[in-house]
């Protein structure tokens, strides 16, 4: 009986072309827009890359050592920091205005840096160039204090790019792109939007909401068998849609990591929780289908926005102020599971998120089952 119901439920869902197309199109379209908008923002705005600068020499011969320093910084290789072009003042001004260079170094009466805007890149440039001036002053100070030539040589060596005096540690090998949160939130939203279909399907099981519901209440099949078959059919379609979206995002180049099995697990449980949310809302007696869909939209949007759908940082703020909300918000758990999968080496946090998602699904389905089993109709 279960498979009989499952087969027909699946056929029925697949024949609702408009809903099916939008279930597929909605996350794919959003992912495309997001990727176009900031898919490469992390690489272009946050990652350190070679900084193009122009040098204007107005005091020939006065900056020989500084020029050597610039040459060292612009030497091709892994450590190359600058790409230096020697230009006239007018050409440099134009290049800065056109943004073909990010800064202009004027070797005039004194060393001056022109920048186009207040930016982190500009500050890095200033800091690196300042380092030269400070090192030069420091060595002069050492010489004045009577340091031996060997000591001065050692100091110059240490100051011109020797070993670092600190240990740099990275906390993760995964992608640290904060904008990935938007893509994780798309999955959260599309999983929760599975509740729309679940509301419609559950309403069709209720005798007070339509002729089909009356007919199904008369059938000898158990209600839980029918609900289970509906759930499985919806899950099949939703999970397939999520997998297609995941494949599309990976093709786009979103850095989701390579733990595909973990991703499948998140999407599977995400689909489950979205459908369970729809079933529990759909099982509310004496509410029209439209009203139930309205509730679904409100809850799904609210939970998704709380999981960084429209602004990165909301989830973090909640985590700092009311962390409990993030533990019961399925959208936040979904995005957190993706993040944990991408950035953590140990599976503890990921498994905790999955466990909580499974618990929420079980709770929602348990309550829905309880409500649906108890439905009795005195008259219809």
């Amino acid at each position: 009986m279960f498979f009989h119901n499952y087969r027909y439920a699946l056929q029925s869902i697949l024949r609702k072309k408009s809903s099916l197309i939008w279930t597929l199109l909605f996350p794919i379209a959003l992912a495309t827009f997001m990727y176009l908008s900031f898919g490469e923002l992390y690489e272009t705005e946050e990652r350190l890359s070679i900084i193009p600068v122009a040098v204007v020499s107005e005091n020939e011969g006065a900056y020989g050592e500084f020029d050597a320093f610039l040459e060292a910084l612009s030497a091709e290789g892994d450590d190359q920091l600058l790409y230096v072009r020697r230009l006239s003042r007018d050409e440099a001004e134009k290049a800065l205005a056109d943004e073909t260079v990010r800064g202009v170094i004027i070797e005039g009466e004194e060393l001056t840096l022109w920048l186009r805007e207040n930016s982190v890149e500009g500050t890095v440039l200033k800091t690196v160039l300042e380092q030269y001036l400070q090192s030069e002053a420091f060595v002069r100070g050492l010489a004045a204090s009577g340091a031996t030539p060997q000591e001065l040589l050692a100091a110059v060596e240490a100051l011109t790019g020797g070993e670092p005096y600190y240990t740099e540690t990275s906390t993760s090998d995964g992608s640290q792109d904060l904008y990935n949160n938007f893509f994780y939130a798309i999955f959260a939203m599309s999983c929760l939007f599975a509740s729309f279909t679940a509301v419609v399907r559950t309403s069709k099981l209720q005798a007070n909401l339509g002729a089909l519901g009356m007919r199904r209440q008369l059938s000898p099949a158990g209600r839980m068998t029918m609900v289970g078959a509906e759930f499985a059919a919806m899950l099949t379609v939703q999970f397939a849609a999520e997998l297609l979206t995941l494949g599309y995002m990976l093709l786009l180049g979103v850095e989701m990591g390579e733990r595909y099995l973990g991703m499948f697990a998140v999407l599977f449980l995400g689909s489950c929780v979205g459908i369970a949310q729809g079933i529990i809302i759909g099982s509310i007696p004496r509410l029209s289908e439209d009203a139930k869909t309205g509730i679904c939209v409100s809850i799904s949007m609210l939970l998704s926005c709380m999981a960084d759908l429209v602004a990165v940082g909301i989830k973090g703020l909640i985590e700092r102020s009311v962390p409990f909300l993030n533990r019961i918000n399925p959208a936040a758990l979904l995005t957190d599971a993706f993040y944990a999968l991408n950035c953590y080496d140990t599976p503890k946090r990921f498994l905790t998120d999955l466990g909580l998602l499974a618990a929420i699904t079980a709770l929602l389905l348990g309550v829905s089952g309880f409500v649906l089993r108890r439905n009795r109709y005195a008259s219809l």
Binding site: S18, S19, W22, L25, F26, A29, L30, F33, L36, S37, L41, E46, R47, L48, L96, L111, T112, L113, W114, R116, E117, N118, V120, G122, T123, K126, T127, L129, E130, L133, Q134, F138, A154, L159, G162, E163, Y165, Y166, T167, E168, T169, S170, S172, Q176, F193, F196, T197, V200, D290, T293, G294, I295, V297, S298, L302, C305, V310, G313, I314, L317
Partner: protein, 390 residues
Amino acid sequence: MQVFKVYFQILRRHVGQIFLYVGIFAVIVFGFILPSVDTNPVESFTAKKCLFAVFDSDKSEASRALIGWLSEKHEPTEIANDREATVQDALYNRNVYGVLRISEGYEAALAAGASAGELAKRVELLTVPGTLTGELFATDLNRYLTLAALSCRSGASVTEALAATEDALQISLKTELSREGAESAQSKLYYFFSYLSYVFAVMSVVSIAPVLNVFRKPEVHTRISCSSYPFHRMNWELLLGVFLTGLFFLAFFGGWAGIVFGGELLCARGALYLLNLLLYLAVGLALAYLVSQLATTQDTINMIANTISLGMSFLCGVFVPMKYLGDTVLAIAHFLPAYWYQKTLMLLQEDYSGEMGTICGNFAMLVLFVAAFVAAGLVAARQKSLRQLA
């Protein structure tokens, strides 16, 4: 006015969703965006600062001096602990850009003239390698440590070395901003109106399209058609309902802006902000009409509304400033109404007196979008009725 009354009765069912989007707007704009808006004009160069946290186990004069110097150059903050997971979360969420661990024995190593490798065992920087902010903080840290270590190695005491280091680090490079770099003060009004474009688009569609949809249901439409109610009257009453809903949105958000920004709105610039919003509202209403012709169920309407509103917000510079968007994205954005709305808002931030022609052109583009959406809606309606007749 039966249709008009019924329109609002149905609309009342969607009030919850309207409030939801008003709430989302309030939280984003007043909780996140406006508090971070810098209202001071940018006239000269200001070095960017990185948020950083320190866990100092040495608690010595040398470690305090290092922290003090870094705090002058950057912005110290606190995180709960220095466990790897906590640090990773803080780095990922950009609550900090670097976390410094100074181990016991740092000062002793410095005093003993330790080599770079030995000192590095006592100073650990947790950061996101390869990022601009990570590099900036690391460069500052390294130049301090290098100078301090070299001073100590040259025979100076720790106190003398720290003083010499700070003296050397006082030297700075003369830095100027080019003329193009100077920016006017950012206007909070701009961000308020910018985010309204997202809310207006989604609210108009999710609240109005389902109501229009009800009147398009074949059984309802047929019943009204065979009643004594003239067809054109039904359309006019629906149009009036849609128009009044839009006016309510405009009055609500315009009033809200008036309360929050007061005098800023009571000038020619404020009037242009409101006119821009009015035209964008017309776009939202036209879009609602078009969507009501294309989608038949509420869930589909919601998916379309969110795809369009979020999509336009991402592509047209609402969620991500336009200066960060690539040329291709901006080329695509030209075909979306939110782009022209945003362009006007950007012009209104500056001295717009010489840009009135451009602003009027942007307004005209919005009017054209209204016409295009209504025309597309009429075509869709016509196609649908022909299909029904067939």
